[in-house]
């Protein structure tokens, strides 16, 4: 070897000694997870946080010895906030040999992935998907969804809406025109009408729309007491910002059925104050539950920020799948499904479980109200918990959700 070669190798040893220290003689066996998430499009911010949590959870699994002696590797696909792209990605991940696919920051994406994984006999741990359909009319035996759904959000908000706006409240809805928006609209409408309220205006909008001004001005004409904005991600940020700038909030309250922190963070307490919403998880639960504390601490240490609830579900999905495989003693999809169905666990709260007949993850739903600038202690402190609702109290009953999952074998 030349003098230069020796010098360079010495330099590498000096700089990278801990990095390139000899590993095992034979590389360990691996198993592939497919991460199918929006890294571009309206829900990209949620997708980014999901990806961060996936990586963190996989690192934890690997640091603890992997799953049944196999280390986890992952393949990432950008679903582009588009259901058909998500479907093609799922097919590609299945072809690559993924034993489990997880992802979806839109319900439409989750539903197309669920269809493909069901056909292929691959477990799909649905992430951020809030449509009733995901564990309703589009439920599948290979799909599990921890995130709560529109029915749960609407039911949790029911009493607060009734109490706050009275029995004769007038509601206006502007909602996203796809499975999530339409099922949330149905659930919220039912709740509003059940409490004696009346829907005076409803308007659908397309995913990814930038300007809601015309829709908001139309809604204003109906003179509602409550404006319900059923949007998510950047779409909700735009809609809420524009509603505030049009000064609509001087005459009506704003309800956003589902919130995650990245939507509120760029708006700040000035705009978020007083907004009524729900969440399936919030980073402040780290003060209440050990599991949430462990997750938030690990996430903040790695990424120097608070995780959103899209990250929380990603964390749950990876760790729950890994635990299920360990309990099953096998990666066989049938055995893993059996290990998940009805399983009770404590991961981010105290009492969570996978319902066996629709694969809905049952845990609490939180009704939240945006804090005022005075109440907010820091940039991530944007909501106060108005009420906590047990999973079984808000989830659909079997009668309300008459799904029949495919037989296992």
């Amino acid at each position: 070897m030349s003098m230069y070669g020796k010098t360079i190798l010495a330099l590498i040893c000096l700089i990278g000694a801990p990095l390139i220290a000899p590993g095992p003689a034979v590389a360990e066996e691996t198993v592939l997870f497919g991460l199918n998430i929006p890294l571009t499009g309206s829900y990209a911010k949620q997708g980014e946080d999901q990806l961060k949590a996936y990586k963190l959870a996989i690192q934890k699994v690997n640091d603890e010895g992997g799953i049944l002696g196999k280390k986890v590797v992952y393949s990432i696909k950008d679903s582009k906030t588009n259901a058909e792209v998500a479907r093609e990605n799922a097919k590609a991940l299945i072809a690559e040999g993924a034993v489990m696919i997880t992802g979806g920051s839109s319900s439409a994406e989750a539903i197309t992935q669920a269809e493909e994984t069901q056909k292929a006999g691959v477990i799909f741990m649905a992430a951020l998907t809030h449509s009733n359909d995901t564990t309703g009319k589009d439920a599948h035996r290979h799909t599990f969804r921890w995130y709560n759904n529109g029915h749960q959000s609407a039911k949790a908000m029911g009493s607060l809406l009734s109490q706050k706006f009275g029995q004769n409240a007038k509601y206006a809805f502007i909602y996203a025109n796809y499975t999530w928006g339409t099922t949330i609209f149905d659930s919220m409408k039912q709740v509003a009408e059940k409490s004696g309220g009346k829907v005076v205006f409803s308007q659908t909008t397309e995913l990814g729309k930038k300007s809601y001004i015309a829709d908001l001005l139309e809604a204003k004409k109906a003179e509602p007491n409550v404006l319900v904005l059923v949007h998510f991600g950047d779409d909700m940020v735009n809609a809420l910002k524009q509603a505030t700038q049009l000064k609509l909030r001087e005459n009506m309250a704003i309800v956003v059925p589902l919130m995650e922190i990245h939507m509120a963070h760029p708006l700040g307490p000035e705009i978020m104050q007083g907004v009524i919403t729900t969440m399936p998880w919030y980073h402040e639960l780290s003060e209440k539950y050990e599991g949430s504390k462990a997750f938030v601490t690990a996430f903040e240490k790695e990424y120097s920020k608070k995780p959103c609830n899209a990250a929380a579900v990603a964390w749950v999905d990876v760790l729950q799948y890994a635990e299920a495989v360990k309990r099953a003693g096998s990666f066989d999809h049938v055995k893993v499904i059996k290990a998940l169905e009805g399983h009770r666990f404590k991961l981010l709260e105290e009492d969570e479980y996978w319902r066996d007949w629709d694969h809905q993850g049952i845990h609490q739903t939180y009704v939240m109200i945006g804090k005022t600038p005075t109440e907010s202690k820091n940039e991530w402190d944007l909501f106060k918990i108005a009420s906590i609702h047990k999973g079984d109290e808000t989830a659909r009953t079997r009668e309300e959700n008459p799904v029949n999952l495919e037989p296992l074998e």
């Binding site: 095992p24 590389a27 700038q245």
Partner: protein
């Protein structure tokens, strides 16, 4: 009534302006990161770029890294020369050539050594290449210089006892398969790919070529570095962690994760990448480093002898060790 009529257009225009302003404000961009355009090639020596991009781009606060794929060093160099990219990992002689031509560029480090191998259709040592045509990634690359040193030691003169030709990465395997080339001296995994397809074997006794040679170096536009040092530092940090990630993955998982990541960018079969990386083909090792001046001077001298360069280069101006120092390396 008349006054109201006159006021109507004014009110309409005012309302329109207000709505436009609202919309503009609503769509206003978030705090901007500085775009950093990075070019890369389909070669394992470029892995730190794609791994750093894949792993860290969402965590960047100063740089908004955009990566673009090219198919030859010539194309990558051209992109740099015309200002289409701000950063690349380029062969040292190409960087010298750009500096000699008056382009304001800065050499700020490197992320690997080794990684190129000489493979031939027929088994044999250097002498077996007499009269043969050898494919190179460029005539103004380190590969050409190192090959000429090796062949010179075997008393083989370029142009007389052997010939070289510049080939692009996108066509090399087809050209080799078609018998248009007798040997290749290219960055991995092309040698490994040719071996897997049983088209080639490694040339014997080529240790001189594969022993931790300096290969490509990081080069950044001088005005970019001056104007946006934080963005450059952030990106170099990511490249350094990319090196760590790859070496860690090779040791622990047989480079499978790296193989999966590169599939979206370099588009090599994951198994080929794992094999090449596990075998440290071409002595390939990843770590951030600042090339020694005497090594650069030797390449400068060789490049002059091979007539790759016709002008000298002021290394003190070209080489800037500060960014690596700033990030603690």
């Amino acid at each position: 009534m008349c006054k109201k009529k006159r006021m109507a257009p004014l009110l309409t225009v005012s309302l329109f302006v207000v709505l436009c302003l609202i919309q503009a404000a609503a769509m206003a961009a978030e705090p901007t990161r500085q775009p950093l355009r990075v070019g890369y090639l389909p070669a394992l020596s470029q892995l730190p770029i794609v791994v750093a991009y894949e792993n860290d781009r969402m965590n960047h606060v100063a740089a908004q890294v955009q990566i673009s794929r090219y198919n030859s060093f010539t194309a990558l160099e051209a992109a740099f020369r015309v200002g289409a990219i701000d950063f690349a990992s380029l062969p040292v002689p190409l960087v010298f050539a750009m500096a000699a031509d008056g382009h304001q560029v800065r050499l700020v480090g490197a992320d690997h050594v080794g990684g190129s191998r000489l493979v031939a259709a027929k088994q044999g040592d250097v002498q077996s290449l007499k009269g043969k045509l050898i494919g190179l990634p460029g005539l103004d690359t380190n590969e050409n210089i190192y090959l000429s040193r090796l062949m010179q030691a075997g008393k083989l003169r370029p142009g007389l006892e052997y010939k070289t030709i510049r080939i692009t990465f996108s066509t090399v395997m087809n050209d080799f398969k078609a018998g248009k080339l007798d040997a290749l001296y290219l960055p991995e995994p092309y040698g490994t790919m040719a071996e897997i397809e049983k088209m080639a074997v490694a040339v014997d006794n080529q240790e001189e070529l594969t022993g931790g040679k300096l290969d490509t170096v990081w080069v950044v536009r001088a005005d970019y570095l001056k104007g946006h040092p934080a963005a450059v530092d952030e990106w170099l940090k990511s490249l350094a962690s990319g090196c760590r990630f790859i070496e860690d993955d090779i040791a622990k998982l047989g480079a499978r994760q790296t193989g999966i990541i590169q599939a979206g960018y370099l588009k090599f079969p994951a198994e080929t990448v794992s094999k090449a990386l596990q075998g440290k083909a071409g002595g390939l090792q990843y770590a951030p480093l600042m090339p020694e001046t005497k090594v650069l001077e030797k390449i400068l001298e060789d490049a002059g002898q091979l007539k790759i360069l016709t002008k000298s280069v002021d290394l003190k101006t070209l080489v800037d060790p500060q960014p690596l120092k700033r990030i603690g390396l």
